[in-house]
Symmetry: C2
Subunit: 315 residues, 2 copies
Amino acid sequence: MGAGAFGTALAISLCQNGAVTLWARDPEHVSVMQAHRENTQRLPGSPLPETLHVTNSRDDLKPARIVLISVPMQRLRSFLETYGDTLADKTLVACCKGIELNTGLGPISVITSVLPETKAALLTGPSFASDIAKGLPTALTIACSDVATGKALQNSLSTKVLRLYRTSDAIGAELGGALKNVIAIASGAAIGAGLGDSARAAVMTRGFAEMNRLAVHLGGHPSTLSGLSGFGDLTLTCTSSQSRNYRLGLSIGAGKTFDPAVTVEGASTALAVATLSQKHNIEMPITQAVAGLIENRLDVQTAMSALLSRPLKEE
Amino acid sequence: MGAGAFGTALAISLCQNGAVTLWARDPEHVSVMQAHRENTQRLPGSPLPETLHVTNSRDDLKPARIVLISVPMQRLRSFLETYGDTLADKTLVACCKGIELNTGLGPISVITSVLPETKAALLTGPSFASDIAKGLPTALTIACSDVATGKALQNSLSTKVLRLYRTSDAIGAELGGALKNVIAIASGAAIGAGLGDSARAAVMTRGFAEMNRLAVHLGGHPSTLSGLSGFGDLTLTCTSSQSRNYRLGLSIGAGKTFDPAVTVEGASTALAVATLSQKHNIEMPITQAVAGLIENRLDVQTAMSALLSRPLKEE
């Protein structure tokens, strides 16, 4: 459900394993995809396999056992409330990364709070939709606190080239995927401001340290943060202009404007995490700086100088 | 000592803190640097500060308390044997990354084994010589098992833009800096073979996991590996064509030849670590694959297929 770039790429890839339905809300978007056998709007250049059923009918989802939900994080709750009847008896796999602004919850926790009877999991980790759609090798994390469900999903959703590693640490996986987008904005800002690759590596490293501090405080495992959904995704997002979060950072660093119509998960996540870190009294200077940049309370030079003039210490 | 790109960049940067001497063995190289006030051969485009004394005289090193040694890892031992008399009463800071082929030792251990009376440290972490020379912000690790010496070096060698974080975990810092070069070759090979950014992120993540396995087994701390000298340097080296290790990987992946005159620390380190990991019975499939590629025992397709067809498991 959700025919953005990532949802469409997963649908294309999973056709290797059996019957897949790609559901989108907008009937016109569905008609165009049906007519062109391509998601020209969100994932141009990747043909939809003949076996992929594209629909906007909720009835077509009835036979599905597993539903991958690929909607932006801040819309997940209202989506689940709207489609709860259709989803109630299924295994739900969130395919978004972030923290809900009002509650501080991650994707699995939002699913569980809206639909407590469903089995909830998270598909996260380092990937670009275009790589998955092209069939390039990709490794992701499937996170589910229920081990049996996690193993079943690992088997159902892995293909020869899309490899899923499993964890039962839902909190660590949720936070890794969410927090890395904030650090990606900071990394983009460093490059956009002309500070160079070495400075970006420093931002990423200190950013990884603060991701770990918060995640471990909230019950996540360091090994999850060091895995695909933390380290791996951080490293991809902070170094590639394919990432919208990184591109937003580049614009901020260069003092340019950024298209407000593009969903940038890290922008709202930065605000949510800045609040969360203060509530739990966890030192997160990079996240605080990004929140300040997003809210126009800080300029890049001030933010970078503040980060660079912190006292010298041990790692 | 050593007027390669990194040694020269450090000499330029440290002139901010006081008197610095840049020593090179080759009198002709020294004459050219003296005449042009630039290391045209190894770091073109970065003028040498007027206060930097460039010399090939050992006598000129007598007043120095701290000597930074910037020679390739595999030449460090013979260098120390040759210049031991000059260096005996000083604090020595190795500025190279790797593992000695015959012994499996890192830079600090090599210094200690040749000159047991000296204080030995390691300057490592994510940086490119050109960024340091330009005065762009950079954060590095100074590793020294003796805390007081480490703190003194942290103060002497930090500038406003070159920030040193300190650790007393010499083993972790030595291994982080060495092992990341091997993973950088694998990352370059993935990109060179056209597998895409997501595949590289998977190689880096699984590479980081095997770096941790070996380092922790040999007594390093996970927090060092997650810091600048591990995570930070890995992330920089695996994503930038400024890195010689990454460029060697790109060539291997694309089936092209690589200039044998260029020192690539990761190539010899891969062979040293492949031996070390077998000796200690630590699973390091990416390092083994890189060693196979370096020794022409494996081709890229076979290596990548082997890595991608490993059993699905937990992170």
